[in-house]
Symmetry: C2
Subunit: 195 residues, 2 copies
DNA sequence: CCCGTATCTAGTCATTGACAAGTTCTGAGT
DNA sequence: ACTCAGAACTTGTCAATGACTAGATACGGG
């Protein structure tokens, strides 16, 4: 990709997005440099700006893409637990997207594409608890489930549970976690001594 | 703080840390600039570097401070649920610390102070599930509880549950979430239709 | 074939992080 | 009280970056 015979790159937008994902996954969003991405794509230093306006624009495009992928990943899940598993799988398979999606400070919050994609993903999340309305507060139930999946995914990506998960498949581990929770093994309100 | 009669600032380290917390809470870690912090403290542009080596050093110091504060906040909680509530409270009251603590890419992972503080906080987290060993896998139970609290805290700080929480106290809302979970209101494995 | 426009290049400026070298102050030891 | 080693801070500098502007090139509809 370093040399290029034609004046036009052909698919610079996708090339930059792909390179950005690599950089973010490896070194985080802070290490992202438009000029570096331009070099990787073999174009001049200002070329990426034409597609994304600025750094924030690029990150916003990535986040929107991420929400779209998440919506796809969650679609047609058989039940709530499986939806959680897919949420975790998404985070593991798309760590760069996931990171950017949940750092509002990096994004243009009012971007139309971002809002639309976010709404699609949000609808999928809500669909996961749509059938639980009569057993309690569906919205709260959804937030509880989302918190569990999101927290596990985040801790996973920040290397805070690597020891416990070990060689096990993270998705499988998460499945067992949900089993643990809903079987009542965790007496959250039970008193206990300070060790 | 803009003018200063003495050659030495007196407490530049603390001044820079405090200013950094303001910036991060308002605009995220990416907006952090050592030179800007120097200006706010009324010192020359290179003064902060003497205390923190570089940008990563500053962020690492903040993260270490954060883990110390978290360990304090969790200490002597009466039960697991209350420990979760305090975890959420910590995130709400120290959003800048919380953000930095869970972005490994920003930190020097092998920093001794960071590791020590992290270990203290980790010990407090483990203590929360120390009494549950006979009811199941204590480590997994701990990770489940941590995931729930961490996920809710993260979603809260990223403005992803503001609508649901509304005017309610986030801590109180989280308390009710744990109640929902452990009362078996959430049939995670129950089949359900696609809406 | 022509021209409007999308795509990309080249040049520039202010800002930043990092480093080096020099200056001012503090305080421990005698 | 004196010295001096080192901590705290300043000044100067360099390469890299984001953002902007103006201009060159190529594509595609009419």
């Amino acid at each position: 990709m370093t040399s290029r015979s034609t004046y036009h790159h052909g698919d610079l937008r996708q090339a930059v997005l792909a390179a950005a994902l690599d950089v973010i996954a490896a070194e985080g969003p802070g290490a992202l440099s438009l000029r570096d991405l331009a070099r990787r794509a073999g174009v001049s230093h200002a070329a990426p700006a034409h597609h994304f306006k600025d750094r924030t624009g690029l990150l916003t495009a990535l986040a929107a893409e991420g929400y779209g992928l998440l919506a796809e990943a969650l679609a047609a899940a058989p039940d709530l637990r499986e939806r959680g598993v897919r949420y975790v799988r998404f985070a593991v398979e798309h760590p760069a997207h996931f990171q950017v999606m949940f750092q509002p400070a990096l994004l243009r919050a009012d971007d139309p594409d971002l809002l639309a994609a976010k709404e699609r993903a949000s609808a999928e999340l809500r669909a996961g608890v749509a059938g639980l309305t009569d057993t309690g507060d569906a919205r709260s139930a959804g937030i509880a489930a989302w918190s569990l999946a999101h927290g596990f995914a985040t801790l996973l990506l920040t290397h805070n549970v690597t020891g416990a998960v070990g060689d096990r498949d993270p998705e499988e581990y998460f499945r067992s976690l949900t089993g643990l929770l809903f079987s009542g093994q965790l007496p959250a309100s039970g008193r206990q001594e300070r060790e």
